[in-house]
Every structure is written in structure tokens, then in C-alpha cells.
């Protein structure tokens, strides 16, 4: 342990003192919450957030020439950092244990007014976050040096500072909207938080929505209860061209034919026609293991246009098909911006489109209609601070690789 010269002004150096200060700050934050209500991110809108970030950096820069000043020594000390990290951990733990509220009820009780159910706009959280930013900035600047070991320290602490500053202070400028577009139409309006209609600087035309699904499963279902059998641990047979034979309860089954996109054909059969109204169909042969009885017929889960079809085995049991699960859904869209830019794209989950400062994501569709969904929905995200966030992520990733490579280098003595 280092020892501090007596003549200097004392600053809080034990864990106990630092923890007490953090606890007092959090209690003070809660009191502020009760008096003035939750922290309003609107306040941080550009350029306020940039000014605040610059102030923190300025303080950190001052910490270099005045590194012996008690204030700076304290704000850059390990016990202070540990106390702040513990504070953040406790607040996140509360957040992780309790359900989050999106909106406060009109007459919140005392506990709700403390704001812990909306932690990110709760004063204690905001205070700790800002103090961590300050502490990180201070140690990053103080330890900036072109020496071995200096780089890894910079990657981890500077990277985290950049990430937390851009993500936290930038949060006020972030905008996220969900837009619903009907097929064949152009939309530029979204609903705001209070259901008011907002007009966005870009419009989307939906040319086509398509959904591809996995081949469904077959199950034995009790026709009275509707529950899959055997009760409790039902058997499923995944339809798979590689495995046509299977077993469901006391019945051996074979899929004679499987049509992924079937529509009714002549004579009670089905044929493959790739169109939105089609549905998967399986021609199934079932043989009772005990009696040798044989049943044969088509099994379909059906949709709005093609009726459901079950294969009756006996008075109680039928073979049924599960609703197909989506494998991929995609929307062919054309985007227009106010500046006159136009872009066509096929959006999919995990494949968003970036246009200017906006990112457009495939969001959802009408699940009840599946492939026949009349609309597709998109999430539009405007994040002017994405670039510094990504830079922070990259620095931190490099720092993590550095930790993996270097481990903890042995120092003289600890």
C-alpha cells in the first residue's frame, strides 16, 4: 500500500470513507428524485451533451498538471473507483431483479416515485454514471504515456470512457420508431410515445413481404382436450426429407409425401404452388404398433384459404401438424429521404439498411396471418453518436484481447 505524506490535505482514502460518500450521493439522488422527479434526458440534447462531455475532459486534462492536488488524487484513486463500480453494480442488480416500468401510473406510490423501476432516469444512477465518466477520464489522461503497458490501460479505460460517454450522453439524441407499412403503400408517419402522429424525414414503400418457414412437426393430439400426446412429454416428428419414418406414441408413422407450399388440387390431393396462400401439407401413413391397423391421409395445419386437415387414428387420437415457424422473413422496400435520396433494399432480421444517419430494421409482421400478413413493420433508428460508440467498442475489444494476451503482468510486489 502506498503511504501519503501527512502534510497534504487528507482525502478519503479508505474503502469505508469512499463507500460512505457513494452511499450518501445515492441517497441524495433519491431525495432529489422525490423532490424534482426523474432525470429528464431531454436536458441532455445536443449541444448540452457535448458541452458536458467536454467539461469532463477538461477537468481530466487539468488533473494532469495538478495531479498532486487532493481532489484529483481522490477522484483518480482506486478506492473511489471501486466504490463507484460497486454503486453501479448495486443499481444494476436492482434493475436486474425487478421488472421495468415503461410508464409511471398517474398516481405513483412512494416506491414508484423513487424511480428504481425506471433506473436509467433515476438520479442516483445518473450521478454514479457521470462520476464514473469523470473518474475514467481522469485516470485515462493521467496514465497517457507511450510506454509498455500504457497502451492496454488506455484501450480499456479510454475505450470504456468513449463508449459510456457516447452511449450515455448521446442517449438524448437517439430516436427509435416503429413504422407499419401496408403492402403496396408508402408510409412516412409513426406514432410517438403519447400516440401522437409524427412525420419522419424519410418514407418507405413496401413492395413485397415474404416469409419462409421451417418444415413443421407432426404430433399426436387428443381430439377432446386438444393436447399433444403422450400427456406430459409429447412426441414430435420433425418433417425432414432425410428422415421419413418416425414414431408417435403407439403409432409408427411415415411421411409419404411432403409439400412445402401446397394448395388443394383435384380429387382431394394437394399440389405444390409457391404462392402466399399456400401452406405445408404432409401425406402420412400411420401403423399401430400393437394391432397393425393402418391409417393414411393428408395432414395440414391450414390457413385462411386452405382448411385444416387431421388424420384420425382412433376415437381419441389424431395426427396434427404444428404451425410452421418462421425461418426468414423479408421485405422488399424502397426508401425515400427528404433530400431526394432513393434506395431499394430487401430487409431481413440481422440485415438492416443504413441510409444517412438512419438505420432501418425489419421489425415484425402480422403473426396471425403469417405469410399473408398485409403489412410489415420496421424499426427506424436515428443515432448520431453511433460512430464513437462503435469506436469505443473496438477499443474495448482490443483491450480485451490485450488482457487475454498479457494476463496480469507480475509487478514487483503486491
Amino acid at each position: 500500500m502506498e503511504s501519503y505524506p501527512e502534510k497534504m490535505w487528507r482525502f478519503p482514502c479508505s474503502y469505508r470513507e469512499n463507500l460512505l460518500i457513494v452511499a450518501a450521493l445515492m441517497l441524495g439522488g433519491l431525495a432529489a428524485q422525490l423532490v424534482i422527479g426523474p432525470f429528464d434526458y431531454f436536458f441532455l440534447h445536443y449541444p448540452v451533451n457535448v458541452v458536458l462531455g467536454a467539461l469532463i475532459l477538461l477537468l481530466a486534462l487539468l488533473g494532469r498538471p495538478f495531479s498532486r492536488a487532493p481532489l484529483f488524487r481522490w477522484l483518480g484513486s482506486v478506492p473511489w473507483a471501486v466504490s463507484l463500480i460497486l454503486g453501479l453494480m448495486v443499481l444494476s442488480l436492482i434493475m436486474g431483479l425487478t421488472p421495468r416500468l415503461l410508464h409511471l401510473p398517474p398516481e405513483p406510490d412512494f416506491f414508484l416515485r423513487l424511480g428504481l423501476a425506471q433506473m436509467t432516469s433515476c438520479w442516483p444512477f445518473v450521478l454514479i454514471y457521470l462520476l464514473i465518466l469523470l473518474s475514467l477520464a481522469l485516470v485515462t489522461v493521467r496514465r497517457l504515456r507511450f510506454k509498455r503497458g500504457g497502451l492496454l490501460f488506455f484501450l480499456n479505460h479510454g475505450g470504456l470512457w468513449l463508449l459510456m460517454a457516447a452511449a450515455g450522453l448521446g442517449a438524448a439524441d437517439l430516436r427509435r420508431h416503429v413504422m407499419y407499412v401496408n403492402e403496396g403503400q408508402v408510409e412516412w408517419r409513426v406514432y410517438g410515445e403519447n400516440k401522437e402522429v409524427l412525420e419522419l424525414p424519410l418514407a418507405i414503400r413496401l413492395d413485397d413481404f415474404d416469409l419462409d418457414f421451417y418444415s413443421p412437426k407432426l404430433a399426436l393430439v387428443d381430439r377432446h382436450s386438444g393436447r399433444p400426446q403422450p400427456e406430459g412429454r409429447p412426441d414430435w416428428h420433425q418433417i425432414d426429407p432425410g428422415r421419413v419414418d418416425g414414431r408417435l406414441g403407439q403409432w409408427e408413422i411415415r411421411v409419404l409425401e411432403y409439400i412445402h407450399q401446397a394448395v388443394p388440387g383435384e380429387g382431394g390431393g394437394y399440389r405444390e404452388i409457391p404462392m402466399p396462400a399456400s401452406t405445408p401439407a404432409a401425406h402420412v401413413l400411420a401403423r399401430n404398433l400393437a394391432s397393425g391397423e393402418i391409417r393414411q391421409g393428408w395432414v395440414l395445419s391450414g390457413n385462411r384459404y386452405v382448411p385444416l386437415s387431421l388424420l384420425a387414428l382412433d376415437d381419441n387420437l389424431v395426427v396434427a401438424m404444428t404451425q410452421p415457424e418462421p425461418r426468414r422473413f423479408s421485405s422488399k422496400i424502397k426508401v425515400y429521404t427528404r433530400e431526394g435520396q432513393e434506395r431499394e433494399a430487401a430487409l431481413e432480421v440481422n440485415h438492416p439498411l443504413k441510409i444517412g444517419p438512419w438505420m432501418i430494421y425489419q421489425y415484425g409482421y402480422d403473426q396471425a396471418s403469417g405469410r399473408l400478413s398485409p403489412y410489415s413493420s420496421f424499426e427506424l433508428v436515428y443515432d448520431p453518436w453511433l460512430l464513437p460508440v462503435q469506436a469505443g467498442l473496438i477499443l474495448l475489444a482490443a483491450g480485451a484481447l490485450g488482457l487475454i494476451w498479457q494476463g496480469r503482468r507480475r509487478r514487483a510486489a503486491v
Binding site: I85, L86, L93, G96, T120, P326, N350, Y361, A400, V414
Partner: protein, 259 residues
């Protein structure tokens, strides 16, 4: 190549991985490395040919993702072992790689089990694999921490053990951070934002904070027992993040709970 050939290629790979684990624990390092790499080679040949014959990356079903777990675990485990020659690190990677191969052998029904669209991402496999390596390292750290705690209670901490402990925590925490960061990058691509304070994300932050506490508290030799105890607490938090979040009241509506 198809899943049929897997039944012939996977058992030799599994055998080689077991040989590797057994050899490294008996100090036969050369043999262990050779066996691990041979198993990896057999597996790589299968995955490459499987990919070619499928005509798409094998990334769409549960069974297919298990292939990558085996591949990445043995590969990343080998690299980590080359840097940090702890025998258990290699043994763990080899055994876990074989577990995923065995799951594919014993449960052919997962070969075609659907992977929901959000999971179909290039970040998925690396994300999961680095977390598995982090679990292994941090699990060992927690155990070694308990050993050190006992030494401390009996009087004297072992400086060698401290050096080992800190090293393993730094390396494990590095992998943990890679997992967190790849998760953020993935979330940006799939859900529109890199961090949404989803319960799983929040718990990942709690866990990372606990390890940060250890790392920073070790810089000063104050409260050594508390510091060592943190490693067990942090491992518990890690387990909750991994397995327990789905059961918490806060997790209703989490996007990261896959039943």
C-alpha cells in the same frame, strides 16, 4: 457430406479429443496438442465438405450451430492453451468440444431443429464460444480463490497462487468482455440498439462489475479476504446471467430468453 457421414467422422474426432484431454492431464503435452489438432482437422474437413454440399453456411439449425461450438472451442482452446499452458484449459476445451459433437450424435432430431431468425447471425457462434471459455477460466479462478482464502485464514497467502489467480481472472475477464461486446454488436444488427437494459444485458453488466471490483481491489492489498470472496460471488452472478435470468420476474418480455 451429410449428417450420415457425421456418424463416421465424429467418433474419431471425439476419441482424439478425449485422448488429448487425458494426455495433457498426465503431462504428455506434445501428444495432447497433436491429438487435439488431429481431432480439429477431422472436424474441419467434415464442416467444410458439409458446407460445400449444403451450398450455404451450416448455420441454420441447432445441430449446425453445435458443429461450430465444437470447432471454435477446440480451436480457441488450443490458441489459449498455447499462450497459457494450463493443462486444464486444454482438457476443458477438448472435452466440451466433444460434448457438442456427442449431442449431435445422440440427438439427431436437433439436426433440423429450427433456429429463429434473430439467432441467424455471424456473431452468434463467437459470442457463445468466448463465453464458454470465460466460464471455464472464471470457474477455475473461483476455485483457486477458495484455496487461497483457506491459506489466508491459516496465516499466509501464497504469492504464486495469487499470480496464477490474477492471471486467470484477467484472461477470463478478457473473454467475458469479448462476449459482452460481440453481444452488443449483434444486438445492434438484430434489434436496432446495442444496449437496451434487457435483463440478460443488465445481469451481464452486474457480472462484469463484480470482476472489475476484483481486478481493481487487487491493486491495493486492502481487505484481501473480501477480494477473494468476490470471485465466488462473481461466478454465482455469471451462472445467474447464463441460466437463471429466464426465471426472474424481471425477465418477462426479455428478447434474449429462448425457451
Amino acid at each position: 457430406m451429410t449428417w450420415t457421414e457425421f456418424n463416421y467422422l465424429a467418433p474419431p474426432a471425439v476419441g482424439l479429443w478425449w485422448l488429448s484431454a487425458a494426455a495433457v492431464m498426465r503431462g504428455r503435452r506434445r501428444l495432447a496438442e497433436a491429438a487435439l489438432l488431429a481431432g480439429l482437422a477431422v472436424f474441419t474437413v467434415f464442416v467444410a465438405a458439409f458446407w460445400r454440399d449444403l451450398g450455404r453456411p451450416p448455420m441454420r439449425t441447432m445441430g449446425e450451430t453445435r458443429l461450430w461450438y465444437s470447432l471454435f472451442l477446440s480451436g480457441a482452446g488450443y490458441l489459449a492453451y498455447r499462450r497459457w499452458p494450463y493443462p486444464w484449459l486444454l482438457a476443458f476445451s477438448a472435452l466440451l468440444a466433444s460434448v457438442f459433437a456427442i449431442i449431435n450424435l445422440l440427438k439427431p432430431e436437433i439436426h433440423s431443429q429450427a433456429l429463429m431468425p434473430a439467432l441467424q447471425s455471424v456473431y452468434f457462434i463467437p459470442h457463445v464460444t468466448v463465453y464458454m471459455l470465460a466460464y471455464a477460466l472464471l470457474g477455475v479462478a473461483a476455485m483457486a480463490g477458495l484455496v487461497q482464502l483457506r491459506r489466508l485464514k491459516r496465516g499466509q497467502a501464497d504469492p504464486e497462487l495469487y499470480a496464477f489467480l490474477d492471471n486467470v481472472v484477467y484472461v477470463g475477464f478478457g473473454f467475458l468482455m469479448l462476449g459482452l461486446l460481440s453481444g452488443a454488436a449483434w444486438a445492434k444488427e438484430a434489434w436496432g440498439h446495442y444496449w437496451s437494459w434487457d435483463p440478460k444485458e443488465t445481469w451481464a453488466l452486474v457480472t462484469a462489475s463484480a470482476y472489475l471490483l476484483y481486478i481493481h481491489m487487487r491493486l491495493k492489498d486492502i481487505r484481501p479476504r473480501l477480494t477473494l470472496g468476490l470471485l465466488s460471488l462473481a461466478l454465482l452472478l455469471l451462472m445467474i446471467t447464463w441460466l437463471g435470468v429466464s426465471y426472474l420476474p424481471s425477465a418477462q418480455g426479455s428478447v434474449h430468453v429462448y425457451s
